[in-house]
Amino acid sequence: MLIKLMKRMLLPLLALLLILSAVGCGPKEAPVIETAPGEKSGEIVIWAWSESEINGLAEKFNEVYPNIKIKFVAVESDLYLSKLQSALVTGGELPDVTLQEIGERGAMYALDIWEDLEAAPYNLDRNIFFPQILPTMLNADGKIVGIERELNPSGICYKRDLALEFFGTEDPDELGAMISDWDQLIAEGKRIAEESGGKVKLFAGLRDVESILYSQYADTVFEENLAHITEYYEYNMDIMLRMYEGGMVGKLQMWTPAWNSSYIDPENYILYPCAPWSPVWVVKANDPDGTGRWGVTTAPLRGYSYGGTAYGILKDAKNKDLAWTFIEWATTTDHGTEACQEVVGAIVSRQANYANGYPASPDEYFAGQSTNQYLMENALSGMLIRELSQFDVVLRDVASFVMEDIYNKPGITLAELVEAARVEMKNKLPDDMTIE
C-alpha cells in the first residue's frame, strides 16, 4: 500500500522538481548593517557605463565610508532608460544610484519615479551649485530630481597645425576672436575651402555643428502644449545649410569609427565640439600620439553646455539612505568633488570648489594649455541652458532626419528643410500639441 502510494506520488514529485529547478533564485536584498552607532555600512548598486570611473570613485568613497560596498552594474548609456523601465515594470533589481545622462534626461524626468532631493531626508541646498547648471537638474515641477555631477562649459577643440596654416594663428584667444559668431565662422570656412580646393573643412560632419547649435539654443522650445520648433529649426538649419553649401563640413557621421579616425587625420578637419570631458575621453582617446597638436578655444556666439551626467535616486530604490550618502559625498563635499575632478576629469558643479578661480593645470598634450581653466574662464559666463523637456530626443531625431536632406538633396532650400522638420515633428509629438 505504502509502495503504491509512493509510486503514485513519484511522478508528480518529479514533475515538481523539474519545474522548481527551472526557476531561478530571486534577488538578494542588500543588507544594511549598523556595525557601530553612526557608522554606515551595506551595499549600494550603481548602474553605469564606465567601470573604471565607478571603481575609481568607489576607492575614494571607501576612504570615508569603508563599510559601504559599491556594486557596479554595466549598462550602456544608450539603453539606460529602457533598462530602467524594464526593471521597474518587471520588479527586477533597481539601482540605488542612477546615472542620468543628459541625452535622455528630459524623458527620464518626465517619469514620476524620482526622489525630490530638496525634500527631507535629503534637504539639498540648490544654492551650492552654479546657477547656470540648475535647469539640467529640474523636472517640470521645478523639483531637483538629479544632481548634475559636472559643469560643462564647452567650446571647440582644434588642430594647431591646420589652424596656424589656415587661420594664421594657433593662439586660442586669437582664433576665438576670428570665429566669434557663426557668420564669421562661415565666412572663414568658405575662404579655407576655396584656398584648399575643398580639401580642408572646418568640421567632420553636420552632426558636429548640430551638437553645438542644439546645446547653445537658449529659448524655450516646448511648453505645455506648444512646440516652438519653427524658429528652432530655421535658426539651426540655416547655419548648417550655409556651412554645407560653403564646402566647410565633411560627410562623417559622429561617433563612427571614421569620425574617430578623423582626429588623427592631419589634413582635412580642423574643429570639433569640445566639452571639459572631451580632451580625455575623445581627443586623447582618438589621437593618443597627438601631443602638442591640439588646442581649445571658444565656440561661435557663446559657450554652451555639452553633455553631462547627473546622479538621482529612484523612489523604488532599496537603499535610498546609502545612495544619498554616496551622492552627497560625490557632489557636495570637498573630498567627493575632488575625487570626481581627479577620477572623471570633470569640472564639478559645486561653486565652492572654484571660489578662488579654476586652478591652472597645464597639459603638455595641449601644448601647455590648461583646457578646463580656459573653458571656465571663457565659456562659462556666456553659457545659457534651456529647461529640459521629454521631447528633446524628438528635436535631435528630427534634426538627424532633416540633415540627411542637406547631404542628399543639393539645392534644397531652408523653407523645404523647415517644412520637412515640421511634418516629422507633427508625426512624432502627441496629437494635442500645437506646432508653431
Binding site: 514533475a15 519545474i19 550602456e76 521597474l88 560627410k251 562623417l252 521631447f391 531625431d397 509629438l429
Partner: protein, 320 residues
C-alpha cells in the same frame, strides 16, 4: 478469434488512462513553463494593447483607440510595412536564386572540397546580426568605407556614394547584408532537398538530352517546391522581424543617428515597435500602443504567410 471480454476492455482502458496520466506528468513541466513564459506574455500583451501605459503610471483603458490610431493615423506603421515589402523584393528572390545555383554547384560531382565551401558559405549565418551590422557600417561608410574606395579606384564611381545616408541606397545595403548573411543557410536547405531527389530522375533527364540549366529549372526546382515554400515563408517572417542588423547598420549610438535610418527607409516593424515602447525618439514610452503595433505586425505576417503559401501551392497544383 475471441472477442475481448468487458473486463479485459476495462483493464485495457484503465492501463491506457494510467499511461496517459504518466505522459501528462512528463509534459506538465513544459506546459507550465510554456504557459508562464510564452502564453501568458502573449495574452498579457494582447490585453495591454487596449490600454495606454508608459510602463510606470497606472494603466488607462482606451478600448480600440490604439488600433484605430494604428490604422488611420500612424504614418510610420505603414511605412515600416512598405519598407519591409521593398526589402523582401530586393532580398528574397535573389537569395533563392543564388542559393539554388550554389546548391546545384555543391551538389555537382565535379566540384572538389564541397564540405569546405559549404562550411565557408554557412559561416556568415552564425555571426551575430549586431556584428554584421557593424561590419557593413564600416565597409559602406561614405568617406572611409572599403566599398567606395574600391569602386572609385577601379573607376566605376567618380566619388563615393552615401550608402548609409541616402534613403535610396540604404535599403540596398541592408538587402546585401541579409543576402550575405542568409545565403549559406538557404543553400544548405536546398542542398538537403537536392540530395533527396532520386538520381534516376536526373539520369533519365540526361538521357533525354536535358542540359544543366534545363535539369535545374525544369526538374530540380519543381521538386524543391516544399523547400522554396519554407524558405519564402520564413524569409518573409524574418524580414518582418528584422531589427538588430538594421539598427546597428545606420545608428552609431550616442543619439547620433535617425530612428529608421535616412528618410526612415529601413524602419522595420519591430524597430518601430521597440522605439515606441521605449520612447527613444518620441520622449514618451507607449507600451500599450507598442503592443497594438505588435498585433498589427502579427496580422500582416500571418497575411503574408498565407498569401505566400496559397500562391506557391496553387502553382504547385497547376503543375500537377
Amino acid at each position: 478469434m475471441e472477442k475481448p471480454s468487458a473486463l479485459s476492455k476495462i483493464k485495457k482502458a484503465s492501463s491506457l488512462e494510467k499511461a496517459n496520466r504518466a505522459g501528462l506528468f512528463f509534459v506538465l513541466p513544459f506546459l507550465i513553463i510554456f504557459a508562464i513564459f510564452n502564453l501568458y506574455p502573449v495574452l498579457h500583451s494582447l490585453r495591454l494593447s487596449f490600454y495606454s501605459w508608459d510602463g510606470i503610471s497606472p494603466m488607462k483603458p482606451v478600448g480600440f483607440a490604439n488600433y484605430v490610431r494604428l490604422v488611420t493615423a500612424d504614418p510610420y506603421f505603414f511605412k515600416s510595412i512598405g519598407n519591409t515589402l521593398y526589402l523582401l523584393i530586393l532580398y528574397l528572390p535573389l537569395t533563392v536564386l543564388l542559393a539554388l545555383l550554389l546548391a546545384s554547384l555543391l551538389n555537382n560531382k565535379i566540384v572538389p572540397k564541397k564540405h569546405f565551401f559549404q562550411t565557408a558559405w554557412f559561416l556568415p549565418y552564425i555571426v551575430a546580426p549586431v556584428s554584421i551590422g557593424l561590419l557593413f557600417r564600416v565597409l559602406f561608410d561614405w568617406s572611409t568605407g572599403a566599398v567606395n574606395g574600391i569602386l572609385v579606384k577601379i573607376g566605376l564611381l567618380h566619388e563615393g556614394l552615401n550608402w548609409l545616408g541616402d534613403p535610396k541606397l540604404t535599403p540596398l545595403v541592408l538587402a546585401i547584408l541579409l543576402i550575405w548573411s542568409d545565403l549559406g543557410y538557404v543553400t544548405t536547405l536546398f542542398l538537403a532537398g537536392m540530395t533527396n531527389i532520386s538520381s534516376e530522375i536526373l539520369e533519365a533527364a540526361e538521357v533525354d538530352g536535358a542540359n544543366y540549366l534545363q535539369t535545374l529549372f525544369k526538374i530540380i526546382v519543381p521538386l524543391l517546391k516544399p523547400v522554396i515554400v519554407f524558405v519564402t515563408i520564413t524569409g518573409t517572417i524574418a524580414c518582418l522581424q528584422l531589427y538588430d542588423a538594421a539598427n546597428i547598420l545606420v545608428n552609431p549610438g550616442m543619439m547620433a543617428g535617425t530612428v529608421g535610418g535616412p528618410g526612415r527607409s529601413v524602419l522595420t516593424g519591430i524597430w518601430y515597435m521597440v522605439d515606441t515602447s521605449r520612447g527613444g525618439s518620441t520622449g514618451r514610452p507607449e507600451m500599450g500602443y507598442a503592443a497594438a503595433i505588435t498585433y498589427g505586425l502579427f496580422f500582416v505576417t500571418a497575411l503574408f504567410s498565407i498569401l505566400n503559401f496559397k500562391l506557391i501551392s496553387s502553382k504547385e497544383e497547376n503543375y500537377e
